[in-house]
Symmetry: C2
């Protein structure tokens, strides 16, 4: 039970160690390290299950809720209480804390960090070193040394990874991944319980985005199908204004939805950032800084900003000076070549080159980010997203811009758009699932082959019987640009952002594109769900509570699309290329400015947080203050008195 009754967690963490080999059983003195690890794990109150795989042994761990709770208290975990304030967890006062939507006391993310705290907290409590052995290897376990860290550094523990929970996984598969009839509806709360905030936020965003896409899709279809007679000339501008307003509204409402989700999951966003920065703050300040100290802090802050600006400048410079000429050359060559052979050759060379270029860019970005002082992992990840997105932006759109500007021919542009959209979206959906499957199959094949060699049974087809071993062989959900700061969500969001940019920036050229996108996204929801539930190891949950940097990228794309659509309209209505500022052109320019105004003015009208969420939060803080006001005051004044004495 995944903490359902509050009794104990499921077997949610797996440790992979080599299989015990019988022939060197009693040769050495000391303890067999895997055996003693299991003993130690049981001693700290965990439930352990050992499973013999084909080439490795798997140790599955579960924890009674009390063990978990004591670990959480030791970790000084802060949790939402029923008065809405985040307080440090105490096992004895567990009733004060808000339970998860599925009834368990800890969220998946909290459970995992407790597991980690418990298993890495196993140290040698004796005064003397203990001798450990495995497969002829011997090592000493020093006092106060963490056993698991030692075993990891000795190479005995191959991996510690979160396990899928079979009951919940099957339930989700049935209700979510295979439930195509629900279109855009998804069981978000269950996804949150199983995968954590960030992934649930992604799916919630994807669902809402797809739902909202129905509006421009139907408008686009109408524009495509019907002839508006004398009003035809105004159809595209009206569509353009509609689409931009739609996008602005959508993102404002998404922010509201996000804050509602967080309120429902009992996550205090404001205090989340507090938590992250608390430790840094502690070192730096014990009182309000004055004079010399303050100016030092300010200098430090500005130095940080300048560093960030410099890094961004390097990235922009790199993109403009290296990537832009390359992309333009490719687009130009591709356009002006007639031979199909050379064209395919070009595409092959190009695809190879951008693979390397992207990886190189990501590496440089990560290097740059390391020199920045970001206030936590999520902040660094956001910084990376901005930098790498610039690269992808150029890669995806420069060819389209080239087309649009060189040919100034709507029909060619439409063709290219359809090609790109179908190629990028359909292919990606296929690759997303097939690449992990191929990886998994290859690994499985290798494992089985090794086994066969060992046993000498060349012709017997071995089978993987244990579920945990299958999971171990599955690839992990990681980003294509490197696993350091981002996980697989990077690729999923990138896909979404590039799609959004494509449909928005060329909305006027091809209104029907929105229909394709709706179809694609409905598929995307289920395909991504299937991917996460079946194709990958269970991902490590992240603490981020919003879509972070991507929100700003989407906003940027809206502004870009205002500009590009205006250009498109100018091209459409001024086909002779006179570029005169005639009334029509002037009207377009005015429209552009009005739209930009709407874009930036609208946020004043719709608050990002629904009133009831805000009022609730605010009231909670006030209640908490009232509850402990006197107590606090007394301790402050006594602190002061002591200082004076």
């Amino acid at each position: 039970m995944i903490g359902n009754g509050g009794e104990s967690t499921g077997f949610e963490v797996g440790i992979v160690v080599p299989k015990k080999k019988e022939w060197n059983f009693s040769r050495v003195r000391g303890f067999h390290c895997v055996d003693s690890m299991v003993m130690e794990l049981e001693k700290v109150g965990l439930m352990v299950e050992r499973i013999q795989g084909i080439s490795d042994e798997f140790i599955k761990i579960a924890a009674p809720v009390e063990t978990m709770g004591r670990a959480a208290a030791k970790l000084q975990l802060k949790k939402m209480t029923s008065i809405g304030m985040d307080l440090q967890f105490e096992w004895d006062e567990r009733e004060a804390f808000v339970r998860q939507p599925d009834g368990s006391l800890f969220s998946w993310c909290e459970r995992l960090s407790c597991f980690h705290h418990i298993i890495y907290g196993i140290v040698n409590k004796k005064r003397s070193k203990a001798t450990m052995w495995l497969d002829g290897k011997e090592f000493l376990w020093y006092p106060n040394e963490s056993l698991l860290k030692r075993m990891e550094s000795e190479g005995i523990i191959k991996l510690i990874f979160p396990l899928h929970d079979e009951t919940n996984r099957k339930h989700l598969l049935r209700n979510w991944a295979f439930n195509w009839l629900d279109f855009t509806w998804q069981p978000i709360d269950e996804i949150y319980s199983y995968f954590g905030t960030k992934i649930a936020t992604y799916f919630s965003f994807l669902g809402m985005y797809t739902r909202w896409l129905f509006f421009p899709a139907s408008f686009g279809l109408a524009v495509h199908l019907f002839d508006f007679g004398s009003g035809q000339i105004f159809v595209l501008p009206v569509f353009f204004v509609f689409v931009i307003s739609w996008a602005v509204f959508f993102f404002q409402f998404w922010k509201r939805k996000n804050s509602v989700l967080l309120a429902r999951w009992g996550i205090n966003d404001t205090f989340d950032s507090v938590r992250e920065k608390k430790d840094r703050g502690k070192e730096m300040f014990n009182k309000i800084p004055v004079g010399e100290e303050k100016s030092m802090l300010q200098r430090e802050e500005w130095f940080g900003h300048l560093l960030k600006i410099r890094n961004d400048a390097i990235v922009v410079f790199g993109i403009i000076c290296l990537q832009l000429p390359f992309e333009l050359t490719y687009a130009h060559l591709y356009e002006n070549t007639d031979s199909y052979v050379i064209k395919y050759g070009l595409v092959a060379v190009y695809l190879l080159a951008i693979q390397y270029y992207t990886r190189f860019g990501a590496k440089v970005s990560i290097m740059l980010i390391k020199s920045e002082k970001n206030a936590g992992r999520e902040s660094s990840a956001d910084s990376l997203v901005y930098k790498v997105f610039g690269l992808y932006f150029m890669q995806t759109y420069i060819g389209l811009f080239y087309h649009a500007l060189q040919h100034r021919n709507i029909v060619t542009l439409r063709e290219v758009l359809i090609q790109r959209l179908i190629v990028s979206q359909v292919l990606e959906n296929l690759l997303e699932n097939s690449v992990p499957y191929i990886k998994y199959s290859y690994k499985k094949y290798k494992a089985l082959r090794n086994k066969r060699y060992e046993k000498g049974q060349i012709f017997k087809l071995a089978q993987l019987n244990s579920r945990v071993e299958k999971e171990f062989l599955k690839p992990s959900y990681s980003a294509s640009i490197g696993a350091e700061l981002e996980d697989g969500l990077f690729d999923d969001f990138l896909e979404l952002a590039l799609q959004f940019g494509m449909i928005m920036m060329f909305a006027c050229a091809f209104p029907l594109i929105f229909c394709f996108t709706v179809l694609n996204n409905i598929t995307e929801i289920r395909v991504d769900a299937f991917k996460l539930l079946v194709m990958f190891k269970r991902p490590i949950p992240r603490t981020a509570t919003t879509i972070g940097a991507w929100l700003n990228i989407f906003q940027f794309l809206i502004v870009m699309s205002i500009c590009t659509n205006c250009t498109l309209l100018v091209c459409l209505y001024d086909q002779e290329g006179k570029w005169k500022l005639e009334p029509g052109l002037a009207a377009i320019l005015i429209m552009e400015h009005v739209l930009l105004l709407i874009k930036f003015g609208f946020s004043h009208f719709v608050p990002e947080e629904p009133a009831w969420v805000k009022a609730n939060r605010v009231q909670n803080v006030a209640k908490a203050q009232d509850l402990c006001s006197k107590q606090l005051l007394r301790s402050i004044s006594s602190m002061k008195r002591r200082r004076i004495e």
Copy 2:
């Protein structure tokens, strides 16, 4: 002493009652109401001083700090404690609270609300009604009725108003209003202690704005004086870009400065809004709303938004349909009239008409705002500012736009700009001080004349000897659009905003204008200081901690100025009126877009709050949570247990 030693406040509140007339002394039974009021005031622990003026009697009130503190505790005032959290004030734990920069326990705003609480809190504690009389008038003071409210409604108390503190006022006059040599420097902390947050924020803003204006002023001077040879054609665009960037930077840095000021004064901005909304929240929510209740709340919220949008639409509609044609007609008539007599007549009619129009607009706006649900007085005031500013914006600039577009002649535009600037700024500075003085003199003359008639001494020149009577006769610091929601700061900020709009929107037409503005603003600082210290009653302090709606208005003016300057540049470089999108024009359009991008992108680079302020605040919250964590948890769980039982 204005709370300096913490011993007692100065005489900071005055009550005006009619002078006792001797001849009806013992005619009636019961108590003389002024005498008994003074007795009651002394009974609740206030210090009272009675001063006989020429036609009225003035009762000055001071309070020992303990009386003040007990009143604050009864008011449930929240104050910043030394751990940085706002907690309810308790007299016994007063050491826990942060002291003001001048060493006193309460700020001026807090003192005034305590005074009000104390004096209006005097009720008839006996079971029976008491009979009161004054000048033959009799009334009954019912049990549990507030004496002062009764006396106000009987018309006996003419006014209760905050008094100037002579020591501090003289000190400020010397160090601030007459201290011209300091240019833009001002003793902001002392201003804060004496006038409260909002006025101190205004002067801090004015000082910083003037200081920053030196940059564009010197650039403008250079543009005006030097000939850049072949580079001359690029001078204006460069100046334009510089000015816009300057403005964007300035406002970002102002936000930082504002948060630093608040940190120094011990004001928790985040909790300020909490405080305001707490009472509303209490009625509405006792738990997280669900289902029907939630949807009702949401409906209510959206209804509020729609109401606001409707009101804004009414105002915009009114401005465009009523004011715009009127202003254009005036501008057109004025332009096309040659006779000076008719011109002067036009100006006179115009000035009269806009007076009425503005007042009418303000009344309509206030009426509209009353139907809105704003979350407190400052929020309503902001809403009023937006609505009324639209009116003034049209009034001030439409003539200039008309000039700029009709003549497309830089020289005429410059002349008009100088005229307007000098007329509006110099005249306003003069009026600001002379109008209150004339009002004061008239009132004084009237009071003395009445006196003389009474005494029958027709030829003796009576003198006002008491300071408090002089203050009573001074006008109060109120807004020209009505005193309901705004005070005199509205006019001061309006002047600043209109000036800012004028210099920014026509920056390219006349770079020298920045020099005039610097000179004007240096004068403005001292003139405004003099006005507040000498010409008016001491203003009632307001709780607002930022410049509020004006910040958004300034930002809007920046965006507007990007557009107008681009138009100006087009006019300058395309004098034949071909309006062709030639390379030059295209370059300007590109520049415009880049600038808009900078405008909206820059806020991502510079955070609005310095890192040390934020870290400090964050750490304070964390510390407070740690301090009372266990205590809180226990009370929450016991609450829950009780509920279950």
